[in-house]
Symmetry: C2
Subunit: 138 residues, 2 copies
Amino acid sequence: MLSIGSLSKRTGVKVPTIRYYEQMGLLKAAERSEGNQRRYERSDLERLAFIRHARDLGLDIPAIRELIRLSEHSQQPCADADRIAAEHLAAVREKIVRLRKLEQELDRIVSHCDGGHSIEECYVIRALSDHGLCESEH
Amino acid sequence: MLSIGSLSKRTGVKVPTIRYYEQMGLLKAAERSEGNQRRYERSDLERLAFIRHARDLGLDIPAIRELIRLSEHSQQPCADADRIAAEHLAAVREKIVRLRKLEQELDRIVSHCDGGHSIEECYVIRALSDHGLCESEH
DNA sequence: ATAATTCCTATAGTCACTAGAGCTTCAAGA
DNA sequence: TCTTGAAGCTCTAGTGACTATAGGAATTAT
Ligand SMILES: [Zn+2]
Ligand SMILES: [Zn+2]
Ligand SMILES: [Zn+2]
Ligand SMILES: [Zn+2]
């Protein structure tokens, strides 16, 4: 049986975050010691590692909750789990597209001015004042 | 003199957001009508357009506040403004790098499973359970 | 004049945590 | 066994950039 601190060290998830995941229903309410401290077993360690990895991959809490629910029905088809992952991938790709547009505009703006001007003449300030100077929507 | 609603329509910034920007010190406190409603002039329209464009480019509120402050000293050198833009560009690039790593892993994971399995065999679930199956840190 | 619309302030909610206050329990050494 | 320091507990509030709602007042249109 692990204390919350040992669980934290083994998974790299901070103690308050573990308590937060319990509150959010990702971890089941832990057993308690006589003095009301949380005690964890191996299965909790595995579940927390799952949560952590899913978070590291950018999945949000409702998605993880659903994935955990699905993972408890080992004989069901995995279409829903695959769909969640695919939708997340699509969302990541959209974010990348959007950031690449920002990157292009910002790169253009930044390279038009080298800091050696007055504010009055600064291309950064002018470009921010006027989206018409931009080359794309963003 | 424009009402907050007309200012909103002309800039595409929602009414509560305009009030929020005032609270955050991006817009100066507007003049008021006899009945205490905000009244704006052309210069407010321009400043709000600046704020909006800067937000669309991903700059955060403290950065925009600083840029506005700088833009009021038209004879000063623009090095600080250029630095703010360059730092933001660097931050955007870092985000892109991180998201590309996520994209790679997610793409690999998703393409390993086509939904035609049981949860028990599902590669999505297994990959989430074990970062060791990943090809990179992310 | 009346009705419809817009405006006002103030408060709370979003997301995934993080920080702090104030208190209790645990583990280890003397 | 006693003491001390670390770690645990609950609860509340703060983060960023808004958004939503409530309850009321002002403005505009008919
Ligand atoms: Zn410049
Ligand atoms: Zn633009
Ligand atoms: Zn699958
Ligand atoms: Zn991984």
